[in-house]
């Protein structure tokens, strides 16, 4: 993919800090205010029609990044540009509504995101009404049918009057996707869209998302903890650790030639469905540290198997390791 192309989404040095209460005593005694640095300087670009995987463990800041990108929470600092327009939570009126239409989100749990008292028609048509796109009943009906068909619910007419609890998990997730597609979005942010689904149907949802990209050039930001599905379905992967991207590059390159010790460890512990390939796992001790007390220097150094003294002092920047691959580690040459 040509990098000179104008990205549809550009995130520059995004930061999201959450202050935590000091309590009454703390306020009087003047103890310093503490912050949780959930996202701490994240930058990436997403081209039109590209699928980028944002991969990390719980606490890595991937979901906070997604919410900031969508403008659903205000970010502390940095820029989010969508189609060259700044996305901020405070943008108002028409512009904000237009941005909201172009960026749609698909959530993890299709058992909880659909209103059990609404029919599938009501669920899928609602975004059209919220965005006052049309009042014409025939047009609405037509667009619902079209969205359901695009989401692979066929024949769509059979679903209109059904309720979510009559559908399987995979079908529900398709309904959620239809409700996003009806607004003809340019960007889909999918936060763990298959992790609640049975293995046998995960592939069909991922294949559907990829097909939407292929046919409609929709860009997809895929948020997941699962490097295996990300490896299957994305063009590029960004690996996050404690609020930062530590490695980003073409998917194949990341998986077959990982550079950052964290990425290497993560890849080594992904279960591989082949008993002949039982490997030595690089087990990192402990868990992601608390984002209130981010380690000095490289934030990964306390768990890093190859850390040296400098790693305590130098906070590494993302540096190119080859044309399509960047790593934030001073030990990577």
């Amino acid at each position: 993919m040509a990098t000179e192309q104008k990205p549809i989404l550009e995130v520059r040095n995004l930061q999201k800090y959450y202050p935590i209460g000091r309590g009454l005593l703390g306020r009087f005694s003047g103890s310093p205010e503490q912050v949780v640095r959930a996202v701490d300087g994240v930058s990436f670009k997403l081209q039109q029609g590209e699928i980028l995987g944002l991969v990390g463990e719980s606490g890595s800041g991937k979901s906070t990044t997604a919410l900031s990108v969508l403008g659903l929470i205000p970010h502390t600092d940095g820029d989010v540009l969508f189609d060259n327009e700044a996305v901020t939570e405070s943008a108002t009126g028409k512009k904000r509504r237009e941005l909201r239409r172009k960026m749609q989100m698909i959530f993890q749990d299709p058992y909880e995101t659909l209103n059990p008292r609404q029919t599938i028609y009501q669920i899928v048509v609602e975004p059209l009404e919220v965005h006052s796109i049309t009042r014409d009943k025939v047009e609405k009906h037509k667009r619902v049918i079209e969205a359901l068909a695009q989401a692979g619910l066929k024949p769509p007419e059979n679903y209109l009057q059904r309720y979510p609890d009559e559908l399987s998990g995979g079908q529900r997730q398709r309904v959620a996707i239809a409700a996003a597609l009806i607004l003809k979005p340019e960007l889909l942010v999918a936060d763990e869209p298959v992790s609640m689904l049975d293995v046998s149907i995960r592939a069909e949802i991922l294949n559907l998302l990829r097909q939407l990209r292929d046919e409609q050039q929709i860009s997809i930001l895929y948020i997941t903890h699962d490097l295996a599905t990300a490896g299957y379905f994305t063009d590029r992967i960004a690996v996050m650790y404690l609020g930062r991207i530590v490695e980003i590059g073409a998917t194949k390159d990341i998986l077959q030639n990982p550079q950052h010790p964290y990425t290497k460890a993560l890849i080594s512990v992904i279960p591989v469905p082949n008993p002949r390939l039982r490997r030595e796992r690089v087990l990192l001790q402990g868990e992601i540290p608390n984002p209130i007390n981010i380690p000095s220097g490289c934030r990964f150094h306390p768990r890093c198997p190859i850390a040296i003294d400098e790693c305590r002092k130098i906070d590494p920047r993302l540096m190119p390791t080859n044309s399509a691959h960047q790593t934030a580690c001073i030990r990577v040459k």
Binding site: A203, L206, L227, A265, N274, P275
Partner: protein
Amino acid sequence: MTPILDVQNLSIDYQSNGHPLHAVEDINFQVQKGRSLALVGESGCGKTTTMLSLLRLLPAEGRIIGGRILYRGTDLLRLSEREMRDYRWKKLAIVFQGAMNALNPVQRVSDQIAEAIMREPQITRKQALTRVGELIEIVGIPANRAQQYPHQFSGGMRQRAMIAMALACEPDVLIADEPTTALDVMIQAQILSLLQKLQRDLGLAVILVTHDLGVVAEVCDDVLVMYGGKVAEAGDVETIFNKPLHPYTQRLLQAFPDINRPGSTLASIAGHPPPLDDLPTGCRFEPRCHLSSEICKRIPPLALEHDAGHYVACHHVEQ
């Protein structure tokens, strides 16, 4: 070698409005000391029901309607409830799915583990506390953290505490139901390593209930693939992954992403598992199977031995 646990022709029904639903039908498997067996399948395939029945912990609607569960030759299904207490937790113990979220939030973790140890009436509190020290070391909880409360523990640490509680009465069969499902992949790897260590060092027989074929390939010795309450295929892990014969096993493997093969195609299995109140007459997998033929619609296939130790229930596999 005689197995520690030998399950023969186990069948379980659930009563629903007076109608029996066949949740598990005619399941057979064995577990040896120091080995691990995976019960694999999608939601609703009967794997959790099977596992609960081993400790006779089925919900009130559940009924074991046939078969035997032999623990070192003793049929657990013939014991009185009082006799069963000498086996449950003491010989066979279980780590329930999501149970790490059921720890008592207002009791120290060490006290909760001690409580589990004191299921044995003759154990004194002092002995129990010594044993707590041993257990937390075995499962890898730092000694200085045992006195903390569950909310101070991460998910992985809580799961270690649950495993310590299951080991409290020194069982020789440990059943773990989706023990890593809600955990991050790095924590999952830590817990799986722990289970392997227990299997090796304590000679435990481990039964791992999971939907994750990757986990199975990494840690298990034997595999039982269930579909619609029945055995689809069973064998050692090498056979199941490299020479699968049942179309369900084959397609389940194709639906699973392999990080070593980025860009390869994943094929999902169209349709969904059969609901218990509407099971197919013939083979349970027939409605989703690409090999389906006339006989598959009419006659349920038996799980027959294809090679030594490799069982397949499919009309299209030559025995």
